[in-house]
């Protein structure tokens, strides 16, 4: 967004108190951590207000001033509390340096509409901070798990060594445990055997059905769609209970085939939804043209239709794969010890004797899901490009 509003420097009486208030806020936390919140507020407000005044009014050159504040606070931090405080000092120095000049130069006004009152500007930024906090809430659990998995101890919190960035505090032992434990490796192997088979089933049936569903005249379309989507809607525990009762009646409970069938059924709605969505943009005249030129329906399907809807099919397949790979409730009931999958092993670990190996597994899974997310996003873009829906 370009600048909407002409900006000008602000008077000292405005920005120094604001920076001081921010300093007081930071001082509150540092102070309570050290034992006295009130003292922290006062010291924080005074030092940061003074810092803002010195940086803007005495040093003036912005680059020097900002680097200066970073170095100053870093040094103070290091003297007071070693490496962890140094990092904190750098962050504080960078933030207050930037904040002082941001306010002093009036840059905060540049991107908001010129007619806003100061109160509205304040709300504008407060709102962004709230949103930022919520996004942090979304991502924190995942971010916390990753460093904790390198913990050298059997603890689930950051040890003092870790906070000091002491290499002694970090190790790969939980990853070693994971790769050396037969229980975990067996679970991985089971997951790897079950998920692809289930995916294959749901993708092959699902794609055919999606093509059928996207034709113009389908009797009972709504009813059929409702049935096909139902595995996604019915709570997993109910699916699991029903499958457990029924599969033990027919002798599939506790077998590999039973688990694969159950997972295939759970993955089908995802395939149906993604593939029908892809088919919405599919130009039917292409298949007619192919038929016109003498291709039989099978050739038309594999040479014309399939390559065009392939991105949708693959991302549907990925969804089905992830569903099966992540699934624990149904396999818990339908499977037996011989089908113990990775999530099942994690679930038992979480319920019984929780060990940090779980965090190592979690980190590996997060990395896998980041890869899958990237693939799906690329496929989505490719599919839109193929169908000419977006230029990029």
């Amino acid at each position: 967004m370009v600048a909407l509003t002409p900006i000008s420097r602000k008077p000292v009486g405005f920005y120094v108190p604001v920076v001081a208030a921010a300093g007081a806020f930071a001082g509150l936390f540092v102070g309570t951590a050290q034992g006295s919140g009130l003292l922290g507020i006062v010291i924080g407000a005074l030092t940061m207000g003074a810092l803002a005044f010195i940086l803007t009014q005495l040093i003036k050159n912005e680059t020097i001033a900002r680097w200066g504040s970073v170095i100053l606070l870093a040094v103070i931090g290091f003297i007071l509390g070693g490496v962890p405080m140094l990092v904190l000092g750098v962050i504080f120095g960078w933030f207050f340096g930037w904040f002082s000049f941001w306010l002093y130069e009036g840059r905060y006004r540049a991107k908001v509409a010129p007619y806003l009152t100061p109160g509205q500007v304040l709300w504008h930024f407060a709102f962004r901070i709230i949103c930022g906090a919520i996004l942090v809430f979304l991502i924190t659990p995942i971010l916390v798990v990753m460093p904790l998995s390198f913990n050298a101890e059997n603890f689930f919190t950051f040890t003092p060594e870790m906070l000091r960035f002491d290499p002694e505090g970090y190790s790969l032992r939980h990853y070693k445990d994971f790769f050396n434990s037969s229980a975990w490796q067996g679970a991985v192997w089971n997951s790897v055997k079950i998920a692809p088979a289930a995916t294959l089933l749901s993708v092959s049936f699902g794609t055919l059905a999606a093509i059928g569903l996207s034709q113009q005249h389908v009797p009972f379309r709504r009813a059929i769609m409702a049935i096909l989507i139902s595995p996604m809607i019915v709570p997993l525990i109910i699916s699991a209970a029903g499958m457990y009762f029924f599969y033990s009646r027919v002798g599939l409970q506790g077998t590999y085939v039973g688990v694969v069938l159950a997972h295939a059924a759970l993955g089908i709605p995802f395939v149906i939804i993604t593939v029908t969505a892809t088919l919405v943009g599919f130009d039917r005249s292409l298949t007619r043209a192919a038929a016109n030129m003498g291709a039989n329906p099978v050739t038309t399907f594999f040479r014309v239709q399939m390559p065009l809807i392939l991105p949708g099919v693959i991302s549907g397949g990925l969804f089905a794969f992830i569903t099966s790979f992540d699934e624990v409730v149904v396999v818990l009931f339908v499977g037996s010890a011989g089908q113990k999958t990775l999530p099942w092993q994690m679930f038992t670990g979480l319920r019984e004797q929780i060990s940090p190996t779980i965090l190592a597994v979690a980190t590996i899974l997060v990395v896998i899901s980041i890869c899958l997310l990237t693939v799906v996003e690329l496929l989505r873009r490719r599919s839109e490009r193929l169908r000419g829906m977006s230029p990029g």
Partner: protein, 555 residues
């Protein structure tokens, strides 16, 4: 297509039939094409439809059936339930002697087949103590029958041997077959055949001997010829010898007629068994009405008992009634599930709305970047996120450590964030938040930002502009997201199980408990059926508001 069909119709009325290229009327030709199209579409869908029907819908239907199925009482105690039907449960008296005799016969067969303990555990769901009562009685019934067995065996050693019984009751053809049969040859054992006339001569003995023979040959897979009969056969034999058909025995001339005549002559002088007293001696509960009331209430093949249990009610002589206050758990559990799901939905709205708003109003590039932060948790394994919360919420976990370090809480009064409702609500709000943000975002994208500016330029304050102009247009998104989150949360199992402890669990945890621990499958099925009904109702609403075709995944 119907438009075209109508159009064809109109033309044909005006100017005679329009013909297709091959000479058939266009209307018929079009109809045929339409039919073929429908058929090919159905053919493409059929494999998947059958697959889903078999692997998914059939299990659900089976579960629903299980919630009312109750054949075990009737199957295990067929004679008892039949005779018990005439008993007046309100008289306050125990049933008459025939019922106890029927119970003896049923229970004897059941304990041989090892079915009585299953029936006991089934009835134990309705009447505490039934399980041990049946186990005890299963051990006791043998003694009741032995009274007659001993007397017959004392009378003549002939009655001790299985071969002699077979010679008396088996047909000649079967006897020659069985005597030549050996288990080691691997041939199928020749199935028992009753001698002609035995069913009239000794009706009860014949009936139970047939059951005995079937059990030995098919369940135990032993050689029937060598097998000594159950004590039950002796008591039935006694009944026959003293019963209405006893007079015919004198005219019997087949094998073992001498021994039979001797037994018939001696039987009337035998010591008899008072079944009622015998059962009361095994356990005095048999001499009281509650167990009989329960057996009678649960003798039909279908029952609403599981559903009554699922809503904290029970059967009583005056029809269904609520259980005593201290036994009501499911009502509280359903209410708690609803309450927590609502809490989770509301927190998802509160947290999701600002994020969706900012995503919809930022420039596309920044919005896409921030979208990754929403999609990453969405794509991350549920177990990973749950374990992250388990680790973070612990007493010695990251959150408490941070709070203690900041001095907000004291070290000795760390917050209890896990194994209670708070834990479940925090973790599930995090897990379900993307399901709220995504539909909200897609609705908010369609609201033109100029509306807000227009409202403001017309003099509305920020709040009025938002509340009167923007918010109403985002309500469909809130509706869609809320129903989605609510449906998902009401049936959640994994997260409450791990972070919920005892007070933060949902109805689904109870269902799982009944399936895997208490083995009360009928009650699990009934609870599941109620939950399913709630979810399907919500799903139907969702379909009305949003339409299932509009479900989008991952943006």
């Amino acid at each position: 297509m119907s438009d075209t069909a109508d159009a064809t119709n109109d033309t044909s009325e005006q100017a005679g039939p329009v013909l297709a290229a091959d000479g058939t009327p266009l209307k018929r030709s079009l109809n045929r094409a339409l039919r073929r199209q429908k058929l090919s579409a159905l053919l493409l869908i059929a494999p998947l439809l059958i697959f889903i029907l078999v692997t998914f819908i059939a299990p659900i239907a089976d579960m629903l059936f299980r919630s009312v199925e109750n054949q075990i009482v009737q199957d295990t105690l067929p004679r008892t339930t039949q005779t018990l039907a005439e008993w007046d449960s309100e008289s306050g008296e125990t049933p008459g002697a025939p019922v106890y005799k029927a119970l003896y016969e049923d229970l004897f067969i059941a304990q041989e087949r090892k079915l009585h303990t299953r029936l006991g555990s089934r009835l134990n769901y309705e009447l505490t103590g039934a399980s041990s009562l049946f186990r005890k009685s299963g051990r006791g019934v043998d003694d009741i029958g032995e009274v007659y067995q001993d007397q017959f065996e004392d009378l003549n050693d002939f009655w001790k041997k299985g071969e002699n019984w077979n010679a008396l009751l088996g047909s000649d053809a079967w006897l020659t077959e069985i005597s030549g049969w050996k288990k080691s040859t691997g041939d199928v054992q020749p199935p028992f055949e009753m001698r002609e006339g035995m069913a009239e001569l000794l009706p009860e003995t014949a009936e139970y001997y047939a059951i005995f023979a079937d059990f030995v040959q098919n369940d135990d897979e032993d050689n029937l010829y060598k097998e000594d009969p159950w004590a039950l056969i002796y008591s039935a034999f006694y009944d026959d010898l003293t019963g209405p058909t006893a007079a015919q025995i004198a005219s019997y001339t087949g094998p073992a007629s001498a021994e039979l005549g001797e037994a018939a002559a001696a039987a009337p002088a035998f010591e008899t068994v008072d079944y009622k007293a015998a059962f009361s001696e095994i356990d005095k509960d048999w001499g009281k009405t509650p167990i009989w009331g329960t057996i009678r209430a649960y003798s039909p093949a279908l029952t609403n008992g599981y559903f009554l249990n699922a809503v904290d009610m029970q059967k009583s002589p005056d029809g269904p009634e609520f259980r005593p206050d201290n036994e009501r758990i499911y009502g509280t559990l359903f209410l708690r599930t609803l309450f927590m799901s609502i809490c989770i939905t509301v927190s998802c709205i509160l947290l999701g709305y600002p994020v969706a708003w900012i995503l919809a109003n930022l420039p596309a590039r920044t919005a896409n970047l921030l979208m990754i932060l929403v999609l990453l948790p969405f794509w991350t394994s549920l177990l990973v996120r749950t374990s992250a919360w388990k680790v973070m919420l612990q007493q010695q976990g990251v959150i408490n450590d941070t709070l203690v370090w900041l001095g907000i809480v004291a070290d000795d009064s760390r917050l209890a964030l896990i194994n209670n409702q708070t834990g479940t609500i925090i973790a599930m709000t995090h897990i379900l938040l993307p399901f709220m943000i995504l539909p909200l975002y897609s609705v908010m994208q369609t609201v033109p930002p100029s509306y807000l500016r227009a409202a403001k330029s017309l003099g509305a304050t920020n709040w009025t502009a938002f509340w009167r102009v923007y918010f109403p247009q985002s309500v469909p998104g809130i509706g869609a997201g809320s129903i989605l989150v609510f449906i998902l949360s009401i049936g959640y199992y994994i997260t409450p199980e791990i972070v919920g402890g005892t007070t933060g669990t949902f109805i689904s945890n109870r269902i799982a408990y009944h399936i895997s621990s208490s083995l009360n499958w009928g009650l699990a099925a009934a609870l599941g059926a109620i939950l399913l009904a709630v979810v399907l109702g919500l799903y139907w609403t969702y379909d009305k508001i949003v339409g299932i075709d509009n479900v989008k995944l991952g943006g």
